[in-house]
Symmetry: C2
Subunit: 449 residues, 2 copies
């Protein structure tokens, strides 16, 4: 059976999935958790085979690490499932109840989006996480995992699917795509698929975005900024910048560009660069930054700092304005000096990816200006950009982070997987009565419960 | 200056527009209302010239009626502006306030979408309505009206723009596109334009949707259904169907297909067809419907009904299944018989446009099944599909009706023109502390105010 037929069957099953009671959806999650425990050996064996094949195929160590699905990852999956079961049902929430006129009542209620295609690279734990979020939110899902973990994904999907069916959910509610060619087939199903969520490299996500008419939720890049204002507290700023750059540099919410107010740069720049260099971060930046660092070397700084800054300058890469939309995902940082918060905001809105940006300042008014004017999903004050994450926000889980501005923005949890529907109940009401003035709307809001 | 440059200037002005106080935005609306009054003569003269040109160009009477902007339309515009001024500010609403940990507070707050392109055919009143909704919601807007009312639009835009600038809003926040070629230029600005709202014919809207990477909000067709269940009250059903079909047949929420339960068809079908025929509605439908109508002619019905049904059968058009995705926007109706609510739901989800569909029944359980299972923006029970409208829902105004499922669905008011942003405030907080277990999130929700 080809993808289009599967997706069509899924579309037909979608209303049934949407109407399934939350007890049934939670039971599916409970069975998933049990199946992961019971089939631990099968899963580990499949993953070991995938890892061995990846090694023979010359897949680099760093990538292979992300392919691993071991006991610790399995514990995380189980914990995620338990947490998800506890979360309230995102479906059927009444957002508005309004009497338009006597006996004519409008209700706005959350409903699942319908059919969601999730395409992810590597990381078999994403299979469990994404499938469980779709099930909890009453959505049907086509799941396409990375080819490097095809064996692990196959075992995981079959356990997930069985758990869902045993709980009473429609058989057609979940489907696994395996062949790479099926991605393009899926992207062409814009009449049946309501949303595509790609998770992977920027190049991969851009490909998805450019090759479908289906709405895509995600981000192709994470160019996050930290702006150090002249009124920043340097003792607070240094650890925040180090955390944002080095705590997990491959993450999309790691900082890529540091903007420093000229009013504080002379003292702050050498201090942060020596700390960054000590942490193994390579420095890139404007010529002005280089000049200021060279001047620092000639001033009376300590020998250790001199060595670190000197080392950073040896591999220093002078950047042009257009280079500032670079995403490193590694221990690299771009630095530029700016004249205050206005120029920082302009730079961020121009070169950023509207993901997450942070200002470091003790001036509340400056911070408020920054948070008002920066056009990003997350605008932070005196904290690390690394907080941009569904778990840290308390969403229980996330399907990804969206840099689009419509529907869902920033870390997307269960709420981003539902939409709403207007339900109107009358007793033979017609518009003609209102057009002719025989009746009038009174628009009275009723309690939601 | 070309469109791309204008749009880029607008993008830069967008954060300033977004941060403008609601008093300033309301003042702009007040000045707009005053300008419409003060420049009544200029507007009427421009519109008269447009109408005369349209007549010489052979534009049909029915279309010319929609080009008219007269005292009555001007009163509607003024009333709309007054109502909009009264509505609460959609910007800056706090949707969530959560303490992630002591001193680390997350706020989810509504913000304008940014830069919106609105492209509409005919109807100069749309210029005032759409511009005012964008201003109230803090968005920048590129407005492109229909070429048939270019003169009227030019006068209206210049009054609107002046009102906004005099109120203190950024000069670059509003821009009028005039040449048809500028539509494609605008659609190519996917790096600067956040949303496109097209208003016009299905063909026009589909063109827009197919020619841009910018998210599009709207609907290309309105294939609305009414399903008459075997447990419907025929005395309620007849006026609802007549209203939905004849009260304003050109509207997107007018009914296009009537589904009748076979259990009630023998008595109900002749009754509704004679009433529809009396109202001038042409009947199309399956062969089964035709056979049932011919049988009715042979039974003992009254002479008047016999004439009406006989007339309807003379022009009867036998439909095949695939014909049921026809949109008439006129006094035409498709009819099909079904075996109960399940088949009705299947038909609607397959051939409908996910706009608005209604069930007529006295059985609450059947109605609930219908409202759960139909995948449309509006699912109604015992009332006319014509209620699907922002004014009737009490939204004050609407930018249009969306049949997409993401972001905004159904009639879209001010709430559909905002998105949200996460603001996180800390005091030097770093993720490393949580990763290392030195600190723990406690996720405590705070009062919103």
């Amino acid at each position: 059976m080809n993808i289009r037929e599967e997706v069509r069957r899924m579309k037909q099953a979608a209303p049934e999935m949407a109407a399934s009671p939350v007890e049934m959806r939670n039971r599916a999650l409970e069975r998933m958790a049990a199946a992961l425990r019971e089939h631990r050996e099968d899963i580990l064996a499949a993953n070991a085979a995938d890892l061995a094949a990846a090694e023979s195929a010359g897949v680099p160590q760093a990538v292979r690490k992300r392919l691993r699905y071991d006991d610790s990852k399995m514990r995380d999956s189980a914990a995620g499932l338990r947490e998800l079961i506890q979360l309230p049902d995102p479906v059927g929430k009444v957002l508005l109840r309004r009497e338009l006129d006597k006996g004519l009542v409008l209700t706005k209620v959350t409903v699942p989006i319908g059919v969601i295609g999730v395409i992810f690279e590597a990381r078999p734990d994403a299979m469990v996480q994404v499938a469980s979020l779709c099930i909890k939110s009453g959505n049907c899902a086509i799941l396409k995992g990375g080819k490097e973990t095809a064996g692990t994904n196959r075992v995981l999907f079959s356990l997930i699917h069985q758990a869902a069916v045993e709980a009473g959910l429609p058989e057609a509610a979940l489907f696994q795509a395996e062949a790479h060619s099926e991605i393009d087939e899926l992207l062409a199903c814009d009449d049946c698929v309501d949303l595509v969520i790609p998770r992977g490299s920027g190049k991969f996500v851009r490909y998805i975005m450019d090759h479908t008419k289906i709405p895509v939720m995600g981000h192709s890049s994470g160019i996050c900024h930290i702006y150090v204002d002249r009124e920043a507290d340097p003792d607070k700023a240094v650890p925040v910048i180090l955390d944002a750059k080095t705590q997990y540099p491959a993450a999309c919410n790691a900082v890529e560009t540091l903007l420093i107010d000229r009013g504080i740069a002379e003292s702050f720049l050498p201090r942060i660069v020596s700390q960054l260099a000590a942490a193994g971060v390579a420095i890139h930046g404007t010529e002005e930054v280089e000049i200021l660092l060279r001047r620092a070397l000639e001033s009376g700084i300590g020998a250790a700092d001199r060595d670190l800054i000197g080392g950073a300058l040896q591999s220093y890469d002078v950047m042009q304005p257009e280079d500032f939309s670079r995403e490193y995902n590694d221990l690299d940082l771009s630095i530029r000096l700016v004249d205050g918060v206005r120029e920082a905001v302009e730079h961020i809105n121009r070169y950023g990816s509207h993901h997450t940006d942070s200002i470091l300042t003790e001036n509340a008014e400056t911070a408020s200006y920054f948070q008002q004017m920066v056009d990003s999903a997350g605008v932070y004050w005196n904290c690390s950009t690394r907080f941009a994450d569904g778990y840290r926000y308390g969403f229980g889980a996330e399907v990804g982070i969206s840099t689009g501005k419509l529907h869902a923005r920033g870390p997307v949890g269960l709420d981003g997987l539902v939409t709403y529907q207007y339900r109107l109940t009358g007793n033979g009401d017609v518009v003609g009565d209102y057009a002719a003035g025989r009746k009038e709307f009174h628009h009275r809001d009723l309690p939601l419960a």
